[in-house]
C-alpha cells in the first residue's frame, strides 16, 4: 500500500516521460481556463469588493448567446461581435439595476445579489435559447481541430490544435489585460478604485463608469472561456460547474492578486490531473478531479489563511 502511494507513481513518471508530458499538457490547458475564470472574479472583487457568484453563469450565458445567435442565422464573427454587445448591455444593466441601488451595503448583500443575477441569467438563457445541449461553433470560428503528434523520448505526445489555440488566445488575452491595467488611464483607475474609493472619487474617477467597464471585461473573459470550454465539452448549463473550480483557485491565489489567479489556476489544473492519473485512478477508483482542488485549497487555508499570494493580514490593535 505504502509502496503504491510513495514509490510506484514516481517510477511510472520516470519510466514514461512522454506520458507524463501528456498529462502535464492536459492539466495545463484546464489550468489556463481555470485561471481565466478566476481572473474574472479577481477583477470584479478588486474594484468593488464583490465576490461575483455569477461569473460561472456568465461563461455559460456568453457561450449560449454566441451559439444561439449563430443558429438564428448570423455569421460566426458577427455573432461574436453581437455577443460582446450583449455582454456590454448586461454590464450596464447590472450596474444600473443591481449595483447602484446597493452602494454602501454590506458585502454579503452584494454577494447575495450576484446569486440573484446567477438565477436570473439561468432563467433568461433557458427562455431565449432553450436548455438542451448545444455544440460550439468551433469550425465556423476558424478554430483548428486537428492535432500535432510529437515524439519526445521516443514516445508519443499528442497536442490538440484546439488546446494550443486556447492556450495562445488565453496568453494573449491576459497579456493585453495586464498591459491595459498597468499602462492606461482606465486601467489605473480600476486599480485605484480597488485600493480606496474616497481617494478615487477625489481624483475624478466615477465609480459607475469603472464598474460597467470591469463587468464588461469580465464578460469578455467569460466569452473567451465559454468558447474554449464549449469547444471541449459542449455548451450547456453544466458548464457552470467549472466556474466553481475557480473558488479553490481563488483560495490559493488570493482574491486580489492577478498573478495569484494565473499561478493558482495553472497549479490546480496541473496538480489535479497528475493526482488523478497517478494516484486517483489506480488507488481511489478515479474521478478525483471533482474534489481534489477543494481539498488542496482547504489544506493551503489551514497553513496560509490569506492564500499563497495574498497580502499578510496585519491588523493594528
Amino acid at each position: 500500500m505504502l509502496r503504491d502511494i510513495f514509490i510506484t507513481p514516481f517510477v511510472d513518471m520516470v519510466e514514461a516521460p512522454d506520458f507524463l508530458m501528456q498529462v502535464l499538457w492536459e492539466g495545463l490547458v484546464s489550468g489556463v481556463l481555470y485561471a481565466l475564470i478566476a481572473l474574472g472574479f479577481v477583477l470584479i472583487f478588486r474594484s468593488s469588493r464583490i465576490l461575483n457568484f455569477a461569473q460561472g453563469i456568465m461563461v455559460v450565458f456568453a457561450a449560449l448567446t454566441l451559439v444561439g445567435l449563430h443558429a438564428m442565422g448570423l455569421p460566426a464573427w458577427i455573432a461574436v461581435a453581437a455577443t460582446l454587445a450583449v455582454m456590454f448591455v448586461l454590464a450596464v444593466t447590472i450596474e444600473r439595476v443591481v449595483l447602484r441601488p446597493l452602494v454602501g451595503q454590506p458585502d454579503i448583500i452584494l454577494f447575495m445579489a450576484t446569486i440573484g443575477i446567477t438565477l436570473f441569467l439561468i432563467g433568461l438563457g433557458e427562455t431565449i435559447f432553450g436548455g438542451e445541449n448545444k455544440v460550439m461553433i468551433t469550425g465556423e470560428l476558424g478554430i483548428p481541430t486537428g492535432d500535432t503528434v510529437l515524439e519526445p523520448f521516443g514516445g508519443l505526445l499528442i497536442l490538440q490544435h484546439l488546446d494550443i489555440t486556447v492556450v495562445l488566445v488565453a496568453v494573449a488575452l491576459v497579456g493585453a489585460l495586464l498591459a491595459f491595467l498597468n499602462y492606461t488611464r482606465m486601467g489605473r483607475a480600476i486599480r485605484a478604485l480597488g485600493d480606496d474609493h474616497q481617494a478615487a472619487l477625489s481624483v475624478g474617477i466615477s465609480l459607475q463608469t469603472i464598474w460597467v467597464l470591469v463587468w464588461f471585461i469580465a464578460g469578455i473573459i467569460a466569452l473567451v472561456t465559454g468558447i474554449a470550454w464549449g469547444a471541449r465539452a459542449g455548451v450547456s448549463f453544466a458548464l457552470e460547474v467549472i466556474a466553481y473550480k475557480a473558488l479553490p483557485v481563488l483560495m490559493l491565489g488570493g482574491l486580489e492578486s492577478i498573478t495569484g489567479a494565473i499561478v493558482g489556476g495553472l497549479m490546480i489544473g496541473v496538480l489535479e490531473k497528475i493526482f488523478e492519473i497517478y494516484w486517483g485512478q489506480p488507488l481511489l477508483g478515479g474521478n478525483t478531479e471533482a474534489w481534489f482542488a477543494f481539498v488542496l485549497a482547504l489544506i493551503v487555508l489551514l497553513f496560509r489563511p490569506q492564500g499563497l499570494f495574498g497580502e499578510r493580514i496585519i491588523e493594528r490593535v
Partner: protein, 270 residues
Amino acid sequence: MKDTEGYVTADGRQIGGVLMELRNITLKFGGVTAINDISFDIREGEIRAIIGPNGAGKSSMLNVISGFYTPTEGSVWYKGEQRPKMKPYEVARMGVARTFQNIALFEGMTVLDNVMTGRLTHMNAGILSQAIWWGSARDEEMENREKVERVIDFLEIQNIRKTPVGRLPYGLKKRVELARALAAEPSILLLDEPMAGMNVEEKEDMSRFILDVNDEFGTTICLIEHDMGVVMDLSDRVVVMDYGRKIGDGSPDEVRSNQDVIDAYLGVPH
C-alpha cells in the same frame, strides 16, 4: 472688498478676485447641525485657512467644497456661477483637488502610479485607443508622464518613485498625497490637516512645500489646520469656526486679536 478686486498681501503678493464663494452654507446630519449658516470666499492665488477647535465643522466644510457632502441649505459659487448638486468626481473634474485628513492613497500602487491618477481628469483618449495602446492614448500617457515627473521633482520624492505607497512612512505619504492633488493642476487645492501627526521637521518641510506650490504655480490653496502657529505663518486670510458657526474672518493679525476667537481657543469664565 469687491468680488472682482484683489488685495495685496503682507508679503507683497497680488491676490485676485473671488474664485469660490460659499453662501449661507448649513449642513445638518439628522438633528446635529455641523455647519450653521456660514459664508466666506476664496480668492484667486491666496492661501486661505479654516481653523477652529475639534468638532468645529472644518472637515465638513471641506467636504462640502469638494462635493463629498451636499449642504442642507446654501449654495456654492465657483468662477462666478452657482454650482449645481454634484458628485465628488464631477467636482474633481472641475479643477478642485484635495487631500484627506487620514491619508487616502492607493496603497498597492507605486508612488508614480498614485501621482499619475492625479492626471486622470486631464486624460481623455478613447477607450479603444487605450485598449490597443496606440495613437492618442499613447501620446497622452507620455505627455502626462512628463508633467507628473515635474511634480515629483518639485516635491523631492524622486528617490521613492517606484516604491509601493504602502511601505512609506507617514510623512512621505502625506507628501505623495499632495503630489497627487498637485498633478491635477487644480484651480483650488484643498488640504485637510496637511500637518496632522507630523513632527516639527516634517511640519517645516510641508509648510515650505505649501508656500512653494502657491508661489511657483500660483495655485489657490484652502487648508484646514489646528496648529495655530503654522496657520498664522502660512495663510493670507483665516476663517475661524466654532461649533459650526463662523466666529472670525480676516488676516492672521485681525483674527489673533478677535475676542471671540481668543475665547474659543482659551475658554471664557462663565
